[in-house]
Amino acid sequence: MLRLEKRPNPSRFWNYATPVLAVVLTMVAGGLMFALLGKNPVEAIRTIFWDPLFGEFAWYFRGQLLVKAGPLILIAVGLSLGFRAGIWNIGAEGQYMMGAIFGAAAGLALYPADNRLIFPLMVVAGALGGWIWAMIPAILRTRFRTNEILVSLLLVYVAQSILASMALGALRNPEGGGFPGSRNLSQWASSANPELIAGTGMHWGVVAAFASVIAAYILLQRHILGFQIRLAGQAPRAARFAGVSPNRLVLLCMGISGALAGLAGLFEVTGPAGQISIDFAQGYGFTAIIVAFLGRLNPVGILLAGLLMALTYVGGDNASTNLGLPAASIQAFQGMLLFFLLAVDLLSNYRIRPSRKEAA
């Protein structure tokens, strides 16, 4: 039999190797799943992971890659700060929706003015919307010790209702012939978040995502707050003795992740999505949780993980049009990736040794 021996320190090698191993295992298991669905597994994996990058229509897919990766990275970077400190904001999906609603409302209030300051104002409003929505679980946790996991998650359903009511009511396009959904923000020059370099998919949200990666890297490596976050996660008691206020960390981590999720929502509603509609939220807030873990809660890792996860979205679309693979199978595939990741994490924290027969 085998036994596990706890490593005194997590293995550096496995820390980098486990995400790769998890991706490979997921491809194998995913291939099995596709085979069960009656598809050729090799072809399915190639359609998802290879064709969007190097296939015939790669020029189109490569642009889509950054469009999908932008919000994922932006949200995941924020979440990773809290996850490191043991603060579980899993309601980013709701904060994403509220950011979009706040931002869009701020812009639409000024419609049809033509002013270059409108877009920056909307960006601020979007961040504010996400921040406010994240402050609810944060304040409830610091004031009443209410579990932030449950509150932030339940608020996603509340945000979903608010989004529906906005699309049908307050923000509905008055010239839309009674159809649900707001005016198209991407077609109004003052609020549009266009592609900055044609064909790359690069829009302001992607720029913000890259900036957040750099900022988070500096914060974690060079700033006292980053040190406190890491300390609180690894040794909560030591952190308290060192004078780190747990409440302050909760407010900061939740606030930052909420604001970033709100920004992601704002950039999405003014760019790729274009309008507030009932089905505006596509699950980026939840997938970003997987991205954060896949990137080992490390900003640079999250950048790579976000691109990979975007590839599964883009490739999944490709596979569903070309192979008739159900869209939901990609969601299952992403969930599987998180399972494998958590499973192989064992290797970085434990050594596997053959167990000796001990004399009793």
Binding site: L4, L150, Y157, S161, L338, A343
Partner: protein, 310 residues
């Protein structure tokens, strides 16, 4: 306008008992899991897998009974992944629970594709003879399907086992202090795996109730947060079985009331009514956690990973 205008209280009670069943089942299962010291946040995922497995089995065999068995097995199968990851591979319980939910939502919509728009075989209500003819009370309490009574029986059984049997004592010992329980010679991991499987089966049963009786059809995301509400109800109940029943009925009452208000065309917009159950759950959570005595009711080893180093 009368707030309850035209809503018959007896019918309201009857439908709140039905509406609460999925949450009672899932919450009482999760209570056992948490009593053993494990926090499984994957209730939503296990419920929805139970919902689709139960639905598929019932449609294919034509038997709702087999459907419920299938739902329980589906939920238990998914929870087995959680057990393997957290108990054997010592993964973080919060992250694994989230993974279970994300995976369950994806897998269920994959499995459910060919079942959209299909009608499940109807589940008859339990014949209680003359009891169901009592005016008022009969409508309220004695005209339900068997699962309504089974859910109450499950609460009673869990209460009895936890409180009055040796098994319950061992389970609680493992949840309060796994090191001590290990030192006494109990198999911490084995007990926890069994508790997790029980929790998965109960969540699956709750999910199957949703797709087979409560809705009854298959739609993507059918659970709509019921699993998360079940988790909140366990906190609300301070880990006590009978309070789970109370919490679930309170919640069921609010759900039914807002649905009735929607149907009655109340002047409150539909979206605000449909967010009310979630808001009230949050409010209740806040009230319970603000009370210091209650917040210490959680099992002491809850969410901690156990690794037998000796």
């Amino acid at each position: 306008m009368d707030l309850l205008g035209g809503i018959n209280p007896a019918v309201l009670v009857a439908s709140l008992m039905m509406a609460s069943v999925p949450i009672i089942l899932a919450a009482i299962g999760e209570l056992v899991v948490e009593k053993s010291g494990v926090l499984n946040l994957g209730v939503e995922g296990m419920m929805i897998i139970g919902a689709i497995c139960g639905f598929a089995v019932a449609v294919e065999t034509g038997s709702p009974l087999l459907g419920f068995v299938g739902g329980a097995l589906g939920g238990a199968a998914l929870s087995l992944i959680f057990a393997l990851l957290t108990q054997v591979l010592m993964a973080n319980q919060v992250a694994t629970g989230l993974a279970l939910t994300l995976f369950g939502l994806g897998l269920s919509s994959l499995l459910g594709q060919s079942y959209v728009g299909v009608k499940p075989p109807p589940t008859g209500r339990l014949d209680l003879g003359p009891l169901s003819d009592i005016p008022g009370l009969g409508t309220m309490l004695f005209r339900h399907d068997a699962m309504v009574y089974l859910s109450i029986a499950a609460v009673a059984a869990v209460w009895f086992v936890l409180r009055h049997t040796r098994t319950g004592l061992v389970l609680r010992a493992v949840g309060e202090n796994h090191e001590a329980a290990h030192a006494l010679g109990y198999h911490v991991v084995r007990i926890r795996v069994l508790a997790i499987l029980f929790g998965g089966a109960m969540a699956g049963l709750g999910g199957a109730y949703l797709s087979l009786i409560r809705v009854p059809q298959w739609t993507d995301g059918i659970t709509a947060g019921a699993g998360w509400i079940a988790l909140a109800i366990v906190v609300f109940a301070s880990w006590r079985p009978w309070r789970v029943l109370l919490g679930a009925y309170l919640f069921g009452g609010i759900t039914v009331l807002q649905l009735n208000l929607q149907a009655a065309g109340a002047r409150i917009p539909v979206q605000y009514l449909s967010m009310s159950p979630y808001l009230i759950t949050i409010l209740v959570l806040v009230i319970m956690s603000a009370d210091r005595r209650r917040s210490t009711a959680a099992p002491a080893s809850l969410g901690k990973t156990f690794h037998a180093s000796r």
